[in-house]
Symmetry: C2
Subunit: 330 residues, 2 copies
DNA sequence: TTGATAAATGCAAGCGGTTACACTTGAGAA
DNA sequence: TTCTCAAGTGTAACCGCTTGCATTTATCAA
């Protein structure tokens, strides 16, 4: 059986209280005793049961990451930075990809994490109320939000889309499509809003037929793009603003297969600047979103709320257009 | 304060034992009482503290995933399938990306997970002994391994590399380079062994100069490939077996920049068939490794060990060559 | 009505730790 | 020698839950 603190106490010939103090560096134990305890612990390969510790202390030193998906390069860049930062700050990371709402609740409020990072559209209003009520510090990544012990780190999607669209227009593109993401996704909608406002600003018509539903995924973007091309063979746009990079890649594949040249006939812009964007042929013009920074800031703000009782705040990160070879002047 | 089982008991006018039984479906409680308890629990927004539960029951219903990296498309495909399968089987997932060895030990043996999936070269012999001793069920993904309550799910890297190399030879390629991964990585070494054995089998020389260190990463593969080209401009290989897909992509980028055509002058084969391989231009010939299946099987075997006391076993998955446009006959 | 039996419920121990507080010990002062 | 006090150690309560077993209540036959 796994040794407990009692086994160590017995082996060292002291009480469990002394073992606890010796092991946790509470410096009231005599140096000699401490050595005895340490030796006994090592001898038995003792590793403390964290559950006992956590139950007693009310802290788990664990962060939760709740998400509805973990697929796509955006997410792995995000998880990477969250996991690494959490580790650096002395926290472990729990990743929950469940779709079951009751499971989410159980983990969210089951004292299994000290705080949560949320990218999960199924966590809605009532849940947020519960989060407040249970006083679980939370950071939202998929929408701006601020309340007691609740904050957010989001991108400036509206402005980025506005600028990217304006850039396409400056290249002489006049018929620009938007490849939308999930219908109720905040970023996708903000990007669409920025796209439409830019069109208006420069006197171009806003045409709902040019909104294509790519759902942030390659296959969908590819097939919807193909469908669009076959439906309007004479009426191809000369610019595409894709909801994210992988979506842009799907669109470009469809264009290529239809013999339409990128960037000459159609210029394409993505979002995020995920790793593959620069390696792709043609390399992708995109808005670089500081994904890694989003993860870092999320963890830092969260840990601040947990450890220093900080207030939550809504931070908005600016992206930056990176011009590569998928866009050119018309 | 967060309500506890005592609060619910008080509100429902019963004992905590009854609350526990009512809430956990132990069907000895009277229907009427159960209703009262459920109502009180809902009224108070009661969510049980999982730590108490876990400490008492000795089960956490959590799986741990220990890895040294989470970057690259291989890992996110893996995490995705692990997380999803774990969820389907009623387990949560803890992801540990820490480099700190003592942290690994604390989490690994701190009763915070019921079993672990390991892709982490820093977990070596002594740790494995500890794992056995602490009786933590474990699955290794980065090396074959079998012992009591320890199993593995790996790829048939040797055979896959042998076949891929043989395929390049069948296309008339005679000077084939191997773009190696991490030096002490099992898969990378197995692939190299298969590559070398195929060369020997078909009477081609094995030349250590043709082993290029790509480290499984795009930038390294790109720069090492460039370096190779500039050092031996007259002596470019006509085939490249890359340690993984992203590495192949790096090599192709370098070749393209040097004006060397793929697949005509140099044919390139990757490993894994990650999502991007099919979308890339030229689309990548590669060995499809069932990454998703690796994750699924890992979780299933692990849960079998946890719940049914199954024996650990070493499962080896076969890959399959997928021919696309990065290879052609010479 | 009473007793036997079954159905519900409650008491209390215990999971493995931490920690307030009480206790023991020994050194130095009176 | 006796007292005081600091240093070191130990006792026991507690964190929130589950569960074996004792106890209470309900049911029904005699």
């Amino acid at each position: 059986m796994k040794p407990t603190i009692r086994d160590v106490a017995k082996a060292a010939g002291v009480s469990i209280a002394t073992v606890s103090k010796a092991l946790n560096g509470v410096d009231v134990v005599k140096a000699e005793t401490k050595l005895k305890v340490l030796a006994a612990a090592k001898e038995l390969n003792y590793v403390p049961n964290l559950l006992g510790k956590q139950l007693k202390s009310g802290q788990t030193n664990m962060l939760g990451f709740f998400t509805n998906s973990v697929s796509g390069p955006y997410f792995y860049a995000l998880i990477e930075s969250i996991a690494r930062t959490a580790d650096n700050m002395g926290f472990g990371l729990n990743v929950f990809v469940t779709k079951r709402h009751d499971t989410i609740q159980n983990y969210l409020f089951g004292n299994v994490v000290d705080g949560v990072i949320v990218f999960e559209s199924r966590i809605t209003g009532p849940d947020v109320d519960m989060i407040s009520q249970h006083r679980v510090p939370a950071i939202f990544l998929d929408r701006p939000m601020v309340a007691d012990k609740i904050g957010s780190i989001t991108f400036n999607s509206y402005q980025e889309a506005f600028d990217a669209t304006a850039y396409l227009i400056s290249l002489g593109r006049r018929k620009i499509a938007y490849l939308a993401g999930y219908p109720d996704n905040y970023d996708s909608n903000e990007r669409q809003r920025g796209y439409e406002d830019a069109l208006k600003k420069y006197g171009l018509p806003v045409n709902k037929d040019l909104i294509i539903l790519g759902l942030f995924e390659e296959p969908t973007s590819y097939s919807e793009m193909r469908r669009f091309i076959s439906l309007h063979p004479e009426d191809i746009p000369d610019g595409i603003l894709a909801g994210n990079d992988i979506s842009a890649i799907g669109a470009m594949r469809a264009l290529k297969e239809s013999g339409i040249s990128v960037p000459q006939e159609v210029s394409v812009i993505g979002f995020d600047d995920v790793e593959i964007a620069q390696y792709f042929q043609p390399s992708l013009t995109t808005t670089r979103n500081p994904i890694g920074r989003q993860g870092v800031l999320a963890v830092k703000q969260l840990v601040g709320m947990i450890s220093n009782n900080d207030q939550g705040q809504s931070e908005v990160l600016d992206g930056q257009l990176v011009v590569r070879n998928s866009t050119t002047i018309k």
